[in-house]
Each structure stands twice: as structure tokens, then as C-alpha cells.
Amino acid sequence: MSNMEKERSELLTEESEQINWTKKHLLDIDDFSKAEFDLVLKTASAMKEILSRPIKKVPALRGKTIATLFYEPSTRTRGSFELAAKNLSADVINLTPASSSIVKGESLIDTLHTLQAMGVNAVVIRHSMAGAPYLAAKHARASIINAGDGWHAHPTQALLDMYTVYEQKKRLKDLKVVILGDSRHSRVARSNILGFTGVGAKVTLCGPLTLLPPSINYKYHPYPGIEIEPDIQKALNGADVVMVLRLQKERQHSGLMPDIREYKNHYQLNRQRFALAKPDAMLMHPGPVNENVEIEPELIRCPASVIDRQVANGIAVRMALLYLVIGGKNDEI
């Protein structure tokens, strides 16, 4: 039995009562082991039960403080981090930096020093520049959680998407997950590719070739478990999960696609196309939805759609992550 298998089997037995978690920060999921994915998913399902109670509060993070520092707008991610922290009895402060002090690395570090002086245990950062949370982690004694950085990564979104699929399908391995749309400019897509392939699912990217990640070539790419299929009918055929990405309107003038109407003709998810997926396929969207652009409005609340459940599960997954990252002793603060 390899070390990783051993680690995993130890984690899965009832006997092990202590977690095997060494990450101080949550910056990306590119270095997650299967055991770590497993621990997050299992902890999230324990947290989900708390959300079903009349009193959705446990004292696990009493006395800890969490700051959300969002340099970009957000409804879901920020709201669900705040609720997750509050459900675990942590105190939360929300910071929206003035638009003038964005971008410069220095001001981010200054802000962090200020937060640390206030005794903050974790800082949840969203930034328009890829890598900003890494810069923060280098300078921080607090735990840094990446809530989306540029086009780079959105690890908590991927983990909540994985949990939503796992909750319904009871497994992730060998599922066919189709990511439809503009994966080039999507941190959600990038993190989901890493997450789903990391646990043995098969990911199919579908969209105009100009909107695929530049590192992933149509003919050849070095990533196992990823398939490129520009033909939407072939891509959707036999899919277990269809994840539709938001088409940002500003891409219309980027030269990477002709126009919205052309895009809709080829890549909008409509009922006919969705019918090519498996009968029990799940329909996902990270939100916010551009109605009648990337998806036909009737599909948004169809029985297969789990878009609202993704939002609810976001709270459970973020509770799990906050517990794993700062639940124990933080002796440096």
C-alpha cells in the first residue's frame, strides 16, 4: 500500500479522530492530495447537517476573527463566507478597500498588517490580480484564503461544486463533467478542472477554441483526464454534470468571438442540447447567470438544475474550510 493510500484509508476509518491537515493557507487546490479532497468533502457534509438545524450555530470558532477583503464585487462568495464564519461563532469584519488603493501590492500588505494588528485569524481575499493571495500569504501571520484571484483560481468554488456533485452522485471518480463556455477567462473553470481531475473525474471542455485556456491545446495537451470537444452535441453526449460558465459581456468586443448571437447559436445550453446528457445529469452554474446568453432561461430552475443548491452548499463547504484552516491552535497570532 502506497503512503497516500495508507493515509487515505486511515482517514476513512472511524478510528482516526485527528485530522490530517497541514495547510495554513488555502490558495489553490493544485497541491491537494486525494485525502485532502476527501477530508474537505466529508467535513462539509457534517457541516451541511448543521445548516438543517433550527439553530444554525456551533461554537467551534468562538473567539476567532475572520476578515473578508474583497477588491472585486461578489454576492455569493462573500455572503457565504460571512455566514459560514458566523455559523461557527467566529466574529467577522468586512472590508471593501477604497477603489483608489487597489492594485498596488504595497497597499494590500499594509492592509494585512493592519488586520493582523487587530488580531484577525484569517483573511479571505478576492483580488482582480492573479497571485495576490500568494503575495499576502508571504507576508501574513494570519491564514489567507483565496476567494478568487484574477483568472487564476477560485478554490472554494471548485470545492463546493465538487461537494454538490458528490452529495448527489455519492462519488466523483469517472464521472463525465462538461465545462461549457469561456474557460479561458474563468478562474472557476481552472479550479474545477484541477479539482475534478484530481479526484479521478473526466473533464470535457467545450466552447469556441479561442475561449479555451491558452495552455490547453486542442490537439495536444499534457493534462490527463481533460478532453477538448468544440462540438457541443458531442461534448454533452453522456454527460453526468454540465457546468455552464458565465459569458462576460465584455468578451464580446475582445475579438475572441464574433458576437453574442453567434455564440448562442453554437454554445448556448438549451433544452434540446441538455437532453443529450444523461437523464440524471446535473446542471450547474457558478452564478451570476446571464439569462438567455450562455443558458436558456427555462433551464435555470429546471429539475436538473442545482444552481441554488450550489449556493447553499457554499456555506457548508466554507464552514468546513474555515474549521480546517483555523479551527485549531493559532499560536503565532
Binding site: 485530522i19 457534517a46 433550527p54 479551527g327
Partner: protein, 183 residues
């Protein structure tokens, strides 16, 4: 390492049988009972008590599973946190008599955490505590209502409960890990 077996599988069967009879004797309205097993080994014990009561009296008592790790009082001081597992209690505990079940009662801190967790889930009319082993050394004013066996132990000894469901064998032993270095 010196190991002493204090309960064999036959002892465990008799002990749980007696505890079941005590629970029946003290709770006239069995239909109002809910068994809640504390993870990990309280759960199979809760099931066995419920099965016994079903066999003796014909009343099926709902059995729930409680994970109290998020309520521990030492979370903020531990370097490694416990794994959080699911809690699932099949019925509302409002107005019910909850029998909280654990394998070993020691400092009383787990029972305290478990009671806090239960009270966040509803308002039972009362909570009673059933433990298979009471080994003493309480750090909180907590006592058990139903005790399988009192085992006087020293703090540097370990009481080890093994059950078929979790460990493949029914046995309670007491050992002194201080002697383990020779192994």
C-alpha cells in the same frame, strides 16, 4: 505494556442487558425515549441498548448519532483538530427524554460538549447519561444515570473499549502505556 481484561464479550452482553433493564425500570413511557450515541463507540452501544429494550418490551426506540467535536472546549488549544463527522438524529428531541450514550465516562468534558450540542438541536424534557465504563477522575460536576461498570483507574492508565461494530471484538481492557517502551 501491562494489559488487563476487565470485561469479556460475555460480561459486556450481561452489562448492557442490565443497563437496558434499568432504563426500562426508570422510564415508564418508553415511547418518549430517544437514544443518542456519542461518536464513536457510544453509537453501537446505543443501538445495542435499543435492541435489548425492543426485545424485552417490544418498543422500538429511535437511535441517533451525535458528533460533538465542534463543541469541544479544547478546540482552540489543540494543534490538531478532531475530524468532524455527521450528526443525525432521526426524530425531534423536543419534549423527549434523551439517553445520551458513551463508552467511557472520564473527565466529563465530552458529556458536557454533547449536552451543549443536544440543547442546540431542541429542548428535551430531560437528558440522561448512560456509560458502559465509569473510570472516575471527573473534572466537571457530571455523573452518569446508568453505569455498566465502575473501573477505578489511575490517570496514566488507558481504558480501551473494543466493540465488534468498530473493532471486530467485544472487550474492555485497561493498560498502562508507560510500560510500552519495552515493546
Amino acid at each position: 505494556m501491562t494489559t488487563k481484561i476487565v470485561l469479556t464479550s460475555e460480561d459486556i452482553r450481561r452489562t448492557l442487558g442490565r443497563m437496558s433493564h434499568e432504563i426500562i425500570e426508570h422510564n415508564r413511557d418508553l415511547a418518549n425515549l430517544v437514544m443518542v450515541g456519542m461518536r464513536t463507540r457510544g453509537v453501537p452501544i446505543a443501538h445495542r441498548l435499543a435492541e435489548n429494550i425492543k426485545r424485552y418490551e417490544g418498543t422500538a426506540i429511535p437511535v441517533g448519532v451525535l458528533d460533538f467535536s465542534l463543541y469541544r472546549d479544547d478546540l482552540a488549544s489543540r494543534n490538531i483538530q478532531p475530524v468532524v463527522k455527521s450528526t443525525s438524529i432521526p426524530v425531534s428531541i423536543d419534549g423527549k427524554v434523551v439517553i445520551l450514550v458513551d463508552d467511557v465516562l472520564y473527565t466529563g468534558r465530552s458529556a458536557r460538549s454533547a449536552m451543549d450540542a443536544l440543547i442546540d438541536m431542541g429542548r428535551p424534557s430531560s437528558i440522561k447519561l448512560a456509560v458502559m465504563i465509569d473510570r472516575g477522575h471527573r473534572e466537571l460536576p457530571i455523573r452518569a444515570d446508568y453505569v455498566g461498570k465502575n473501573i477505578p483507574s489511575s490517570r496514566n492508565e488507558d481504558v480501551r473499549v473494543q466493540l465488534i461494530e468498530t473493532d471486530g471484538v467485544d472487550e474492555v481492557s485497561i493498560y498502562n502505556p508507560g510500560g510500552a517502551q519495552g515493546e
